[in-house]
């Protein structure tokens, strides 16, 4: 289903965050395996371990900052692009239908043949 551009941007950004989160897990696995190497008296693994640990925290920070931004955007768009409450989509035109009905009644009472 095609989405409006802004929503597509949000969905792409969320997909990017998902990818980053999976990278965090992968980085954690690399960190632990390089640590095991290091503990086996393999000093060459030290820079590798440091790099993996650094990247784990970098990825985690970046993913959580992005996620926080997305939650903020969600909050900002409630009422403009998003429904403020959880309702069925079909119920959104309810007010207009009622208002149109009232104006038709008004036309009838005023005895005019008003075009709507």
């Amino acid at each position: 289903m095609s989405q409006p551009e802004y929503i597509r941007e949000r969905l792409d950004s969320l997909a990017k965050i998902d990818k980053q989160l999976v990278d965090v897990l992968h980085r954690a696995s690399l960190t632990v395996s390089s640590l095991i190497d290091l503990k086996k008296r393999n000093e060459e693994s030290k820079p590798q371990f440091q790099q993996n640990a650094q990247e784990f925290y970098d990825d985690l920070e970046s993913a959580t900052v992005q996620l926080r931004k997305e939650i903020k955007l969600l909050d900002e768009n409630v009422g403009t692009r998003l429904l403020p409450i959880q309702t069925h989509k079909k119920a959104t035109g309810q007010d207009n239908v009622k208002l149109e009905e009232q104006f038709k009644l008004l036309t009838k009472y005023l005895g005019k043949d008003q075009q709507s």
Partner: protein
């Protein structure tokens, strides 16, 4: 889930994730006996340390995976909100979105007010 709940969950999970790696790193010290442990341990003592170490490292690994899973649930929840609760942008024009019909409505209200005022004793 409300946005505040999402933020709280994000904060908690991030903290857990960053601590979990530290715990795993500390555990490796127990599992490998530490660099400065020169004297050999008794076989039963080693087995106890080893089994509890494996159990703890399993728990922390589980925590790490669960944490990432929780963050993925948050992104999914946000995605669902965007897709399912979006307000349509190209809605069919209702009578209140056209200037002409709005003007007619304004005139009608004005006329009705005048009629009401004239009918008043």
């Amino acid at each position: 889930m409300s946005n505040q709940v999402l933020l709280d969950k994000l904060d908690r999970t991030t903290e857990t994730l960053s601590n979990t790696l530290i715990h795993l790193a500390k555990l490796s010290d127990i599992e490998f006996g530490g660099k400065d442990t020169e004297q050999p341990r008794s076989s039963s003592g080693l087995a106890t340390v080893s089994s509890s170490g494996v159990q703890m490292s399993n728990n922390y690994t589980m925590q790490l995976i669960k944490g990432i899973q929780d963050l993925l649930v948050i992104t999914r929840s946000i995605r669902e909100k965007w897709v399912l609760s979006q307000l349509p942008e190209n809605e069919e024009l209702s009578m209140f979105e056209s200037e002409e019909t709005l003007e007619n409505c304004r005139k009608l209200v004005q006329e009705s007010m005048e009629t009401l005022l004239n009918d008043m004793p």
